[in-house]
C-alpha cells in the first residue's frame, strides 16, 4: 500500500529528495546529490521496486545519469550516459527529460542538442533513436533561450509525442521508430509565417491516460502585440488537441498571459489542467503576484489559484519541468521557483504553502506516491 510521497527537486546545485507521509503534513529533505551540479531531469519510476533517476549536467566533465534503488537515500552513476555516435559530430550538452518506457527497465531520454535516446537496461547503456535525432528537419531546428532541447516525451501505447524547443511537436505512431512534425494550429511568434510546418517553441506537452486523444500544450506565447510581418498572433501559447495531436486550437482565453512554461493535468480528471502564466518579457508572474491557473473544463475557462501565495513583490519564474501533481485522492500540486522556493498547493491548488524557501534555483520537480 503506497504510503509515502516522494519529491525529487532538481536544482542548479544538485538533486534534493523530499519525503512525507501521505497526509503531506511535513516533508523532510535530503541531499544534495550530484552536489554542485545542475540537475535538469529526474524520474521517480514506480514500476516494480521504485527507482529514482536524475540527470547530472556537469559543465566540466559532461553528462551523467544517476540512479537510486533506495528512494533517494543514495545515488550512483549508471554505467554510461547517452552519447552521440563518434562520427555524428554532435556532443551532448544537457539531459532534459527522463521517462519510463513500456518494457521493464526501459527508459527514454531527451537531450540537448535535441535528440532522443533509449535505454533497455535501466540507464546502463543507451541507443540513439535516429527517427527523430536524424530527422530531416533536425539540422534546421534552432536553440531557444534554454538551448536546443528535446524536453518532453509523452507516451501512449505506440504513440509518442515529443516537445522540442525550438522544433515543435513531433509524433510517432510506431513506438518511436519514425516521427513526423505535427504542428497544425501551433503558432510561432518568431517567424514571419505564424504557422510554420515546424520550428515552434513548444514548452510543455501533457495528456491523460483516460483521454488519449486529448493533449494540451504550453507553447511560447506572448505575441499578441507583434506588429511585424505575419501580423498579431494572440493566444498561441496555450493549446489543446482532440485528435491525438494532429491539430491544435487555442484555449488561452481568460488567462492573464498565454506565456508560461509548465503545464499539469489532474491525475483523475482529464478536463482539469493547470498552467502558471508568466509575463513574456520577464518570464515572471504578472504584477509580482504568483498564481497557478486551473481550468476544470478542458480550457474553456480558467480560475486563479493563489490562496497562501504572496500577493506582491514576488517575481517567480517556474521552469518547464518544475511543476507536478501527485496522484492521491485529493491531489496536491507542487512547483519550484528559480529563486529556490518549493510550494505545495493542497486540495488541487486551493491553498498554497511554501515547503522550502531557500533551495538553489529549481529546474525540475517530480512527485510520486510510493
Amino acid at each position: 500500500m503506497p504510503d509515502r510521497v516522494i519529491l525529487t527537486i532538481g536544482t542548479r546545485k544538485g538533486l534534493f529528495v523530499a519525503e512525507s507521509a501521505k497526509a503531506r503534513g511535513k516533508f523532510t529533505l535530503r541531499g544534495p546529490f550530484a552536489t554542485g551540479v545542475a540537475v535538469y531531469a529526474s524520474l521517480i519510476d514506480t514500476r516494480g521496486t521504485p527507482r529514482i533517476y536524475a540527470s547530472s549536467c556537469n559543465p566540466f566533465f559532461g553528462m551523467k545519469v544517476l540512479r537510486s534503488n533506495d528512494l533517494g537515500k543514495s545515488f550512483k552513476e549508471t554505467k554510461s550516459a547517452p552519447a552521440f555516435p563518434k562520427d555524428d559530430g554532435r556532443a551532448l550538452a544537457n539531459i532534459w527529460s527522463l521517462e519510463p518506457g513500456a518494457a521493464k527497465n526501459e527508459i527514454w531520454c531527451g537531450v540537448e542538442p535535441a535528440s532522443l535516446f533509449r535505454s533497455r537496461d535501466g540507464g546502463d547503456s543507451w541507443e540513439m533513436i535516429g527517427g527523430i535525432s536524424n530527422h530531416e528537419h533536425s539540422r534546421k531546428w534552432q536553440p531557444g533561450a534554454g538551448g536546443l532541447c528535446l524536453h518532453t516525451i509523452l507516451r501512449d501505447g505506440n504513440r509518442m509525442h515529443l516537445g522540442i524547443s525550438t522544433g515543435g511537436h513531433y509524433m510517432s505512431e510506431d513506438g518511436g521508430e519514425t516521427f513526423k512534425a505535427s504542428n497544425t494550429g501551433i503558432g510561432a511568434g518568431f517567424s514571419p509565417d505564424p504557422y510554420p510546418e515546424f520550428g515552434q517553441c513548444v514548452h510543455k506537452i501533457v495528456g491523460h491516460k483516460d483521454a488519449p486523444g486529448r493533449l494540451y500544450i504550453q507553447n511560447h506565447g506572448g505575441w499578441g502585440e507583434w506588429d511585424g510581418p505575419g501580423g498579431r498572433r494572440p493566444d498561441i501559447g496555450v493549446l489543446r488537441s482532440d485528435d491525438y495531436g494532429k491539430t491544435w486550437r487555442s484555449i488561452a482565453k481568460g488567462l492573464p498571459s498565454d506565456f508560461g512554461f509548465p503545464m499539469v493535468v489532474h491525475p483523475h480528471n482529464p478536463d482539469t489542467v493547470y498552467v502558471m502564466p508568466l509575463k513574456p518579457q520577464t518570464r515572471t508572474c504578472p504584477d509580482g503576484a504568483p498564481a497557478v491557473w486551473r481550468s476544470e473544463n478542458g480550457g474553456g475557462s480558467w480560475k486563479r489559484l493563489a490562496k497562501g501565495m504572496p500577493k506582491k513583490e514576488s517575481f517567480f519564474t517556474i521552469q518547464r519541468d518544475a511543476m507536478d501533481i501527485d496522484e492521491l485522492k485529493s491531489p496536491a500540486l507542487y512547483f519550484g521557483t528559480t529563486t529556490g522556493q518549493l510550494w505545495i498547493g493542497h486540495d488541487g491548488g486551493e491553498e498554497w504553502e511554501c515547503l522550502f524557501d531557500a533551495l538553489p534555483p529549481i529546474h525540475n520537480v517530480k512527485v510520486a506516491v510510493v
Binding site: P59, F60, F61, G62, A83, R90, A91
Partner: protein, 95 residues
C-alpha cells in the same frame, strides 16, 4: 622507427573514481592526442570526463604538459617525452 615514451598523467581527485582511485597513471605516447587515445582505450569511463563524443577536450578541462598549457604549445599535437608530466585540471569557473 617509432618508440613509446613513459609519461606520468596526473588525475584530479574528482576523476579518480573512474580509474581505480589512481592519482597518477603511467601512459605511453608521443603526443597529447596519443595519451588521450590510450586513456580512451584503457580507461573509457575516465576518458568521457575529459573529452566529448567528438573527441574534443571538454571546454572547462585544461591539459598541461609539465608547466605549460597545451594550447600554448601545439594543442593535441604537443609532443611528450619520457619523464614528462601531463596534468588534467578542471578550469576555475562557475558560480
Amino acid at each position: 622507427m617509432t618508440s613509446t615514451t613513459a609519461v606520468e598523467l596526473f588525475v584530479p581527485e574528482m576523476l579518480r573514481q573512474y580509474c581505480g582511485k589512481a592519482r597518477t597513471l603511467d601512459v605511453s605516447g608521443q603526443t597529447v592526442q596519443a595519451v588521450l587515445d590510450e586513456i580512451e582505450r584503457d580507461y573509457p569511463a575516465l576518458y568521457v570526463n575529459i573529452c566529448d563524443e567528438t573527441g574534443a577536450v571538454r571546454r572547462h578541462i585544461n591539459i598541461f604538459v609539465n608547466d605549460d598549457h597545451m594550447r600554448d604549445l601545439h594543442g593535441l599535437n604537443t609532443a611528450v617525452a619520457a619523464g614528462d608530466a601531463v596534468t588534467i585540471l578542471p578550469a576555475v569557473s562557475g558560480g
